[in-house]
Symmetry: C2
Subunit: 373 residues, 2 copies
């Protein structure tokens, strides 16, 4: 069996649920935040550090690895796990989001997508069959069906057309799959139209995938709209399959997603803002790069047990970031990933103890979106 | 006692010697290569990684830390050891080399040097007393007297004048010193004139410093000229004090320096070329960034026990470097520092076993300067 999801406990008030995801590279508690290793490395970190933080699954990117170093090379290296020295679970996305983000550089047809590389302008063609070939060469535990991530905003007619194509592409991916030890997840689209989200979900659920992702959200829409889409979609998904909300990685969206029944999340934001000198804390964001940290000898977050907080001051980390020193980026990245992984663990604990609604309320009272501490 | 040097074994053929340097932050075997942490961090590395590599002393830069984050801040943080979380020995240079490298941006008088910051163009004045104040605030175990590192080439009259000033400045540093737990080393100058090198050495030795550095070498002169200067100078230095050749960090210069009686070395080269994708091996240099490494699944160096070589292929490291990924810079830096630290340990072992001359001959036969493997 490639993958199984074990539902362990459900919140009686919200949609939150605690589970275990069993993969060929180990089991992991859900809900879970997956650090992103776009180019076969979680930026600035070693695999050992990612493990020390507590992460049991990471994400990597089909689009990037296809272009560089090439999926055949990764296959020849023994697959992505061996290439990057990571023996825990990996999920590869389908490249859909990256390709559609290229804007004028890509052209979509029923058959597939023609696009130009962001690296050298070379022309490429990706279709469901090719995306499966690439992901099979990479060899992740969880792979994603090729989908169209429509722009936001987009009109209803376009979205309706697009979600049908995403379903047909998902079916083509399913048929093209040859390595049964990989779990192929489908991606629900449907823009900001609840009924189209439901239509997409129904079509894909009828094809019986081992897991479902919700794509095309957190693309600039208000939080309420994202939550409305989740509320419309998640109840249609089978309870015995994992549910993955793509591209979400702020504390408020994570807890908001969990309360609506999501099990898995990923986002580049925590690692990206880290390299810009901003860290996440239980009380909001701290831009350690800024002047107030210059002679502040406290850790990034009092009480945090991450490597950065146990050993270094804000003053030192600010100095490193200002001086463009790699070790500064390592420390802020370490903190942010530790923060999110442990935040998810706290959420799970509250679900197990039956106190998730209180946990959520307490969080909302303390943490405002993008609040500076 | 701030520092002591214990001479353990001398080579009977060359000037090579094995010793132990005892500092307030631990003892370390010599000859030793000191990784450079210019801005209070060895670029790309954590202190734990530097320890794992086997380094027991690192160097940091007075000039850089004075400008950013400022020596008072480091003092307020509890000194450099605590600021950067490094509990082994530290040597800070005097800033002389950096200030004199500024060229048109600095002006030298007997009193001191006026210069403009490379960061923001602000004007600063450094003299021996100020340099001592800064280095006392930083709190390294070994500190360096403020010297004039004259340009190469330079005419004899200028060098003669300059080395006299360097001696007078060294004496002013000695008088300004208040923290007796720090060992103040003097820096021998004298350009490429053997008799002026000897004059500088005699003047400084008469002032009785706990250690002596040879400065102003490896500045573009041929290897033979550098060796000629060492041969003229080192025999004048007391046998019971450590001798430090500044700014030297290639395998051939290290072994050449050791054979002429040098105990300590530092250089940014191994970490700098690492970040450009070049690594040091027992057989020469490997530019892992280049195409031949693209699908080479061997380690950087067969048989090397460093973290990079134990876990990653050239293909993976090349991919990371090409993709500008921090983890790639970490791996090449780790390898180069491990290589040099262990190279020095091998040299020491051969001195202890009385086989250093054979070791040197075997090295010369195998390793050409800047040879590509």
């Amino acid at each position: 069996m490639a993958l199984s999801y074990e539902l362990i406990k459900e919140c009686r008030v919200t949609g939150a649920r605690a589970g275990m995801l069993h993969t060929p590279h180990g089991s992991l508690p859900t809900p879970v935040f997956m650090p992103v290793g776009t180019q076969a490395t979680v930026k600035a970190m070693s695999p050992e550090e990612i493990k020390e933080i507590g992460a049991r699954i990471i994400l990597s990117n089909t689009y990037h690895l296809y272009l560089r170093p090439g999926h055949e090379l990764v296959r020849d290296a023994g697959g992505l796990h061996r290439f990057m020295n990571w023996d825990r679970a990996i999920l590869t996305d389908s490249g859909g989001f990256q390709v559609f983000s290229l804007g004028a550089l890509r052209k979509i047809r029923e058959e597939g997508v023609t696009f130009r590389s962001h690296l050298d302008g070379s022309e490429h063609f990706l279709d469901p069959e090719k995306v499966m070939e690439i992901q099979e060469a990479l060899g992740a535990d969880i792979i994603m069906a090729f989908d169209e991530c429509a722009p936001y905003p987009a009109d209803r007619a376009y979205i309706k057309d697009s979600l049908g194509r995403t379903t047909r592409w998902a079916e083509r991916c399913q048929k093209a799959q040859t390595r049964k030890e990989q779990a192929l997840f489908a991606i629900i689209q449907g823009g900001m139209y609840p009924d189209l989200r439901q239509e997409s979900a129904k079509q894909l659920v009828s094809l019986d995938f081992p897991g479902y992702a919700v794509g095309g959200l957190s693309v600039g829409e208000p939080a309420e709209l994202m939550y409305e889409m989740l509320t419309a979609t998640v109840p249609l998904l089978p309870a015995n399959k994992p549910r993955y909300l793509m591209g979400v990685g702020t504390a408020d969206y994570l807890i908001g997603g969990v309360s609506r029944g999501i099990d898995m999340f990923d986002c580049v934001l925590p690692t990206r803002i880290a390299r810009n000198g901003t860290v996440m804390t239980r009380r909001g964001y701290l831009t350690v790069r800024n002047a107030p940290s210059a002679s502040d000898f406290r850790p990034l977050e009092e009480g945090c047990q991450c490597y950065a907080c146990r050993n270094y001051s804000r003053a030192y980390i600010r100095h490193l970031i200002k001086a463009n020193e790699i070790f500064g980026f390592r420390l802020t990245t370490c903190h942010n990933l530790y923060f999110l992984v442990h935040f998810m663990a706290s959420i799970r604990e509250s679900i197990m103890e039956g106190t998730f609604p209180d946990f959520y309320q307490e969080f909302i009272a303390r943490f405002g979106r993008e609040k500076e501490v």
